[in-house]
Structures are given as C-alpha cells and as structure tokens.
Symmetry: C2
Subunit: 578 residues, 2 copies
C-alpha cells in the first residue's frame, strides 16, 4: 500500500471521553471514530487490524473442524420467548418492533438462532458432532458504554456453537475449541492465560475465559507461574494455609481493646501478626414465618470473603448481610467486637479452611471494646463447620500443588463454555440416537471478541509514543519512510525498489510517499504502532545503507540497502511464526 | 473440503413462500434458511458463494483506488435529522429507541455516516479525491419482503462513497467506479448491462444501474444489440419514428365509428394500421384560484405514455389525470372519442415526436361514435407543441443512432450515482480549496447488492435439476464423486490423489466422502450447482479413466485419471479468466 492512496487520520489529541490508553490511542491513531455512545466507525487502519484478527480466527476455527455460516443481526422475539431469555435478559437486549409491530431483538448472541438451525437441520446422530461459527456484528445495549472497543454497544464477535450427542462428545468439542483458542491467541502474539471461570448461574458444567494479561485489566486472575493453573480470583480454590492445627499454648483471655474494631488495629494494639486475628462476618437467611437464621463466617484477619463460594454452601444460597439490629439482638453488641463465644442467641458458625487450623487466635468478645485472645477450637468452642469461603491471595499455594499463586490482571477476550442441554431442552432440539430414540443435543458455545482484541492488545503493548502492535495484528507490518521522496531520485528509486521487493515477498508494507516531514512521518507511524520501519535517505544511501528500527528499539541500526528487504522479511516471518 | 467435515442441507421440497426459482433453489440447495420475513441464515454453502462475490468486489474496489472501512449498522437519529431523511424516508427506515430513549435507525444506507466522517476527517483539497467503501449488513424494513435474497430486509451490500473537490473530479470518480463495476460483473461471469437510469427526485446528475439479464427480472431494459446503449425503458429517449412529415393525400372526413372507443377497434373497424390512429390522453394542472388547465397529449395508437418524461415538460411538473367531468366540460364528450379539433374550451395540445411527423391520421371527433380521418397538421389544426412523451418499444431506433432497440428484462444488482452536493450541503461537509476558501464536496455513491447477486445469478443460470453457478461464485468449483469411497481401495486412493492434486493447484474442490448412493450425490451437487464434476469408479479406473461432466453438459466424457486434475484445473482457470 502507498500512503498517498490510503487514508491516514491521526490526531494529536485524544477525545475527552477516552479514559483508558487503548481508547485514546485507537482514536489518535485513526483506527476508530465515535458515531454514538459505544458505536464506532472502523476507519481503514482499524479495519486492517480487525481483518487480520478475523483471518487468524477463521484459519484456526476451520482447522479445528468448525464450519462457518452467517446468522442475522435482527432476530424474531419468538425464538427468545422459546428459550425464556425474552423475559430474563436485561435491558442490554435491545428490543424493538418492525413496521408491522412484530417484536424483534438486535442479537447480542445467537444461541436461539443456532439452536433453531440445529433442530431443523440435524435429524440423526450421524450428523453429529457439528460446530457452526460466524464472524458477525453484535449489539448489546450497555448502560454505560465506554473504553472504546472494550465495552462498546456494536461490536464484532466470532461465536461458535457445538452440538454433540452426549457429554463425552461435548467435552471433546470443548477441548478442540480450547486448543484452537490457545493457537489463536498464541498466533496473535499476545500474552494470555486460559482461566477457569465460575459458571455463574448459566448452568453449564465447564467454562474457561481467555484473558489478555494487562495491568489495566478489569479482572483479577490467580495463576501459578510454575504450572498452567489459572483461574479468576473468585473461582480459584483457596487451600488451608496451615497444614495442621497446633496445640494451645496458653489460656483464653478477655482483653481490653478500646476503640479497636478492625482486625488491623487489634493486631497493632496487641502487637501480634494480623494472621492471628479473626474477621467476623454475619450473614442472615430467611425462614418463612419464623425469625431468620444468623450465620457467623470466620476468616483470617488478612483474608477477603468470596461471595460466590459462600453462595454455594448449603443453606446460604440466598444469603444477605445481617442488619445491625439483628446483630445486636443475636450477639448483644454492634459490629466490631463480634465473636463465636457467648452469643445471645444461637448462630451457625462457619470457619474458613485456614481458620479451622488456627490456634491461639483472637476474636471479639461480644462486648464493646473487648477481644478474647488465645482462643482454641475444641477447648474454648466447638469444632466448626469448615468451608472455603475466601478469595485466594498472592503467595497462597496453587490448588494444583505445583507452586505458589501470583495475581495478575486480565482482559477477557474469549470464552469457551459448556452449555449442556439448556437451549436444546428449552427449544426442543433433538436428534435420533443409535436406537432411534430422540435425545436433546449437548451444546457448547465459544466466543471471541474480535474488536475487543484490538483494545486488549494495545493495553498490553504501548508506550508514550503510541501503540506497539504484534506483527500479526499490525495494520501494516513495516513502513518505509523515504527522506525526500519527491526531491531525491536516489531515495525514490531505492524506496520503490524496497517496496517492490517487500510486496513480492508477501510482506504487508506501506510506503509513506505523502511528502511529509520526517518528524511527522515518524510520529504518525509510531502512534499507529507499525512494528518495523526502514528509513531511506540520501546520506545513508551514499554508503549503501538504510536505517532499520523496530518499534520497541531505542536506536536505529544500519542495514545494507541491497539486503534490507530480505533482512526485515526474515524478522517479520520469525515474529509471525511465534 | 471434504463433505464429511462440511454441512450439506439440501431439501427435496421448496418452502411454500418461495415464489421465484432463485428463492426455491437457494433454500433447496441449503444456501439460506428463513429466520423471519426477509431475514435469513446463510448456511455454509450460501456463505461460501457470498464470500466469493465479496472477494471479487473487494479486489476491484481496491484496484480502483477505493479504501475500505466499516461503518456501524446502528446509526443515531441526529445524523438523519441533519440530512433531512429522518422525516422524508418512509417506514422502510427502521427507527427505534435505545434503553435511554434516544432515537436510532438500522442503517439501510450510509450517506449520513460517511458524510459525517468526511466533514470531520477531510480539511483540505489535498486530501481529495477519496472514495470510502464497506461491505456491510444493512436493514430495510420492506413492507412485503419476498423472493428470498432478492428483496430481503437484512442483506449484505457493498456501498462506496466518493468525495471530490469539483464536478470534474466527481465525473472521474464516477467513471472509475463504472469501470470497476464492469470488471466486477464480468469477473462474476454474469450476463449484465449497465443501464442509464432516471435520477428520479434524488437530485443527482448522473446515474447508471447494473442489471443482470434474466427473463424473470423486474425491470424492462431497452438496449441496442449492435452498440452499448442500454437504458431503463422509462429513461430511454424515444426518437421520432417518421423522419419527415408527408403531404396530405385527402380531405379531413368525419366518420361514424359506433362503439369504437379504443384505437385498436377504430383501426380494425376502419381497416387501417394502428399506426395511423392517435391515442388522446387528457391531463390537468391546477391554477390557484382559477379553473385548471387541461392538456391533450397525443400519442400514436400503439405507443404508451411515459409519465416520467411528461413530468419534465414545463408546466406539467405536477400533472394529474383529468376527471371525466372535466373532460366532458372541455371536450363536450366523455373519453373514447376525444380529439384536438373543436373542443368546447381551449386545451393545450402536446404531440409526441412521432405524432408530430404523422399525416392523414385519425383522431376522435369530440362526439360519441365519431372519429375524424385524414387529419393533417397545419391544414386542419395548428402545428403542435412537440415532446418525447412515450416509452421506447422493441424495433425503435437506438438513441445513439447505432441500431435498433430490443427490450429485455433485468435484475438490478448495482447502482452508481452522482449525488453532487445534496449531503455535503445539508450536513456542511466542506474542505478548503486551493484559495483557502471552504467548498462543499461533490459526492458520488456506488452500491452493489452482494446477497442479491446470488439470486440474480441463479435467475440467469438454472435448469430443472438446480443451480448452474459461474465458476467465480460457485460454492465449490468442482466436486469429486467417488463410487464406493468406503468399499474400494482403488476408488478411495484415486479420489484422495485427485483431491490432493486439485487442492495443490489452488482449485476449490469438495470430495464427497459421505458414502451416499450415486443418485443422492449427483442430485445434491446438481441442485447445489457445482459447475464441474469428476466421478471416480472401479469400472473406469480399470481402464485408467475417470468420468468428467460439466454442469451444463448432457453427457459425461472419459478423462485419463492421471491427467484429469490438470485438465479440469485448466478448464476452471479458463472460465475464471473469462
């Protein structure tokens, strides 16, 4: 491509509504332009990167045996009513009426449509498994669209849906997609992790998120640097940090802790480690026609409660936090000095797995300004019900036993999910099995946020001059910057020759023949993030040299003009090969 | 591609709502499936053909210097209010509110969005010309969606928009697009015509439609087989069919024509050619505060009035047909026996260009059951105002003077249009010219109905067995049908070898390894319309032969198995090269 035949729309300033670096840089680099909240034009430079992502995704989906089709953006309400999501889906589902007053939605996802295809097209087990995918424009009416392509309303997704005759088949389809996703994000040149995700309430039975690692990521991920374990912090199992409970070393003692209502201040006041204190959290569950049950959750002073885990404890499926009035009624004291010993009314005590192995610990005395030290299970209070109710922390043992956890932040760009029969049952998608008996299909769904990947890649790869693209996503792999294309015959001839050589080698090259000053050229292409640059100037050419600089390099190096094209082609191929 | 890893969804029966052959065949071939009225899934086979059309369109758009970007499907109402189309566009424009009650539309076209891009991005004449295009999913809320992809609601279009600094530039951009469209439809392997279109009321100054020729086409096209002239019948200039008026040969005579109110019956009754009779059409135009003006339009008996042409005659811009009461008041007789001579009140007479050169013609006598024969201009009534007010007919001279017109039917698949400043003025899209003065940009727009092309190609190319694709659009270029892939080692080995050879040659081949009976295989691939077929069977292989059959061939021919791949590769390349 020659710049004079292309459109470059770089800006000096980022728009006021851009909060994060990828949003700012995508606008400044001329990749996107806002049309309305969360709705963007993809300008030519942005579209080139989108197409490169799409192309890698398609290649790997095809390699994994998935079959591409294309479903519509506009979907009839009937299908959503059948699945039950017409009622359940929140206002992110854009609903509207056509001119005949029939109800439609703008598809935020396509489970209903693809299940409708499957139930109409698939009759026999011989047609299974099958995995349909599409690259399609979706709409989700976000309440607060922001962060550019990271949380837009209209966006491009690859979504795939597998159909299997049984769970073994689903697991196999799921594994193929998982492997394809690993290949996709590897080829995209991104640092990423496949993260075991909590299924939430969607009711599936297996799910992984693929996160691009970036400090600015919305999600906290626990991972083990010495193994492949990775999970959302909320989903990672927290192992007990104390292998075996030690014997008591002293008597239980009520101690004055005036005004010390927090574990941190109690520890400081008593001059003991925070890890000796206990955090008391009081929950309540309703009992129809009777007073509620109160639960005392005991966590080590430095730990955080994990609501998802608590939610799964029998009896706590619909917990709420207790009110202060309830706490006073049950414990005889307001929050700050609560403990499991000597409550006014019975409470159900649940100890975190680490707390269950603690000894000589400190709890509130159920009396303002007093704590009790040297408390021990069995001796001073009954053995507790034990459960994993906390978030993992940096330094915790990895649940796979292969090291110690670290915490990083990530941006979710892909999701593989075992749906099971949720949709096939709701919409009656069946096939005849080997015995001629109708069975509901087992489904999986697999999404990749194509446009979101651009934002995530930038959040991971930028500096104060602009974007730093991996070769696989870069709008151009290399830019040729001739110094005086319009003035110097030697420069123009060499630039044209290098351009021709690179095109012939299959390199995605742009020749900046706009006649801009060097400073403007360099600033534009560094902002746009082209990973390789060759500068062709009279001074260098006198010695038969051109200047090469990688986007992350701090200095240029001289290359013989004759072999420069071959050299950079080799660099680019090596980078693309990973 | 191997059929066992692909999805084939052929049907024996077409759906009840399919009225035309392309709709029936696309459903039966498993290319599309209805989701709602005018909204379709593109199944894998259909999507393959769509992608091939898109790919050729992209190549030729890029070659013509257009730059691809991607605009959103959902567009804010503000832009449409600025252009004025929020009010003017009919209910085909799907309007809806988002969750915050802001107004949006589903884009049926993108003039507003692209003009917004241009006014923000283009500051100087140095940035012009530029031509932005996209391949994008559009929505038009048709009152009566039908004919499958031919008149759908959600469909894929390529739309391009050029911006120029002046009319010379626009004409040059337009010419480039015209040429690109000729290349596109030529490469697609379709019989087509570029047709001069009437601009209607959109206010542009130049426009061509590209029609795929098919008997089932909605539009009548006048074309000259011995030149490149082609125009919509409504838009083609009708030349006078009589070069010079002949002298009168007899007196004007009032003749009894009892009950003969139509030209045909008058000609039959008087035993004269229909071409001697005159058809009288009475129009009216309003005069504020006064009685209307009545106009008598005179056409030869075998000609049809063209309302678009009449509309352009000074004074007739807002004509209506006269009422019977008005006709009786002005002519003294009800319709059927009207003429220009002896009206009760003055009427304005306009003669068609052919009528103006007629002599000895027949008109009504303004008296029931009477016509007047032997009427001549100048002698019996004043010389008329002359205008082209009729549709051309088969056999008329071509307006370019290079032959005789024929009439065919076409399906519009592309449109190039000079918009001028309509949008750039409404939305204030300006650039600074060479003198630093702001000027409105001259715009052109250029559309191709990607999905519609599939339907049009089928309307042009089918038989009773199914679709007959041009190689360029075929979902696969060739199918390999092995007889007993699962039973015969020789068949399987030869089929696999042919498959590998064709893949290596870059041919888009499908190997039917489903193990279906020959009849099922052949019927499927003939219905789907794959243009080339090789049958590999034990009997032929014994003689070192495989059976080749082109989709239009009535019989198979034997090819040496060793060279069959090379032979069909050559055939396919030749076809693709046009």
């Amino acid at each position: 491509m020659k710049a004079s035949r292309f459109f470059i729309g770089t800006l000096k300033e980022a728009p006021a509504d851009a909060e994060i670096v990828s949003h700012k840089l995508m606008v400044r680099a001329g990749m996107i332009r806002r049309v309305a909240g969360g709705i963007y034009n993809y300008l030519p430079i942005g579209l080139r990167s989108i197409r490169k992502v799409e192309s890698i995704v398609r290649e790997e989906m095809n390699r994994a045996g998935a079959i591409e089709l294309l479903m519509p953006a506009v979907q009839p309400a009937e299908l959503w009513q059948e699945s039950g999501r017409w009622e359940k889906y929140g206002p992110e589902l854009l609903r509207f009426k056509d001119r005949k007053q029939n109800d439609f939605v703008m598809g935020p996802t396509h489970e209903e449509v693809v299940t409708d295809i499957a139930r109409n097209q698939i009759k026999s087990y011989r047609q299974l498994p099958v995995n349909f995918y599409q690259v399609q424009t979706k709409f989700r009416d976000e309440i607060r669209p922001r962060f550019g392509v990271m949380r837009g309303r209209e966006f491009i997704m690859k979504d795939a849906y597998s159909f299997d005759k049984n769970m073994d088949g689903l697991r196999e389809s799921y594994r193929k997609m998982y492997d394809a996703y690993v290949r996709i994000f590897t080829r995209l040149g991104l640092e990423f992790r496949a993260v075991a995700a909590d299924n939430g309430s969607i009711g599936g039975s297996g799910s992984h998120e693929f996160h691009v690692i970036a400090e600015t990521g919305e999600d906290a991920i626990a991972y083990c640097p010495t193994s492949d374990f990775a999970a959302n912090v909320e989903a990672a199992d927290a192992l007990p940090l104390i292998a075996q409970r030690a014997a008591p070393t002293g008597p239980m003692t009520k101690t004055s802790t005036p005004g010390k209502a927090k574990c941190e201040s109690v520890a400081e006041f008593l001059d003991i480690p925070l890890q000796r204190t206990i955090k008391s959290i009081v929950l309540a569950t309703e009992n129809e026609g009777a007073e509620p049950t109160l639960w005392l959750l005991m966590l080590r002073g430095d730990h955080e409660m994990n609501e998802i885990k608590v939610n799964k404890i029998p009896g706590l499926g619909e917990f709420r936090f207790a009110t202060e009035a309830e706490i006073v009624e049950w414990f005889g004291t307001p929050p700050g000095y609560l403990g499991p010993i000597g409550t006014k009314k019975p409470v159900k005590v649940i100890a975190d797995t680490t707390v269950a192995n603690m000894s000589d610990f400190v709890v509130g005395s159920n009396e303002v300004d007093f704590h009790t030290t040297g408390v021990n299970w069995g001796r001073d209070l009954p053995e507790p019900v034990v459960a994993d109710i906390r978030n993992v922390q940096k330094g915790d043992p990895s649940p796979d036993g292969k090291g110690v956890l670290d915490i990083c932040r990530g941006i979710e760009v892909g999701h593989v999910f075992q749906l099971g029969k949720k949709y096939s049952e709701a919409m009656n998608a069946t096939f005849l099995d080997e015995n001629g008996k109708p069975q509901n299909m087992e489904m999986g769904c697999y999404g990749i946020g194509i446009t979101r990947i651009l934002g995530a890649a930038i959040e991971q790869n930028f500096d104060d001059r602009g974007i730093i693209w991996p070769e696989s996503i870069a709008p151009f792999e290399i830019v040729l910057c001739p110094m005086g294309y319009d003035r110097s015959d030697a420069v123009r001839e060499h630039a044209d020759r290098l351009y021709a050589e690179l095109v012939a080698a299959g390199v995605d090259v742009i020749l900046d023949d706009r006649g801009e000053r060097p400073g403007v050229m360099f600033a534009d292409w560094e902002l746009i993030g082209v990973p390789h640059r060759l500068v062709i100037g009279d001074r260098g050419l006198k010695e038969g040299k051109v200047e090469y600089q990688g986007r992350r390099d701090t200095e240029a190096t001289l290359l013989p003009a004759e072999s420069a094209a071959a050299t950079v082609t080799e660099k680019i191929r090596a980078a693309l090969a990973g």
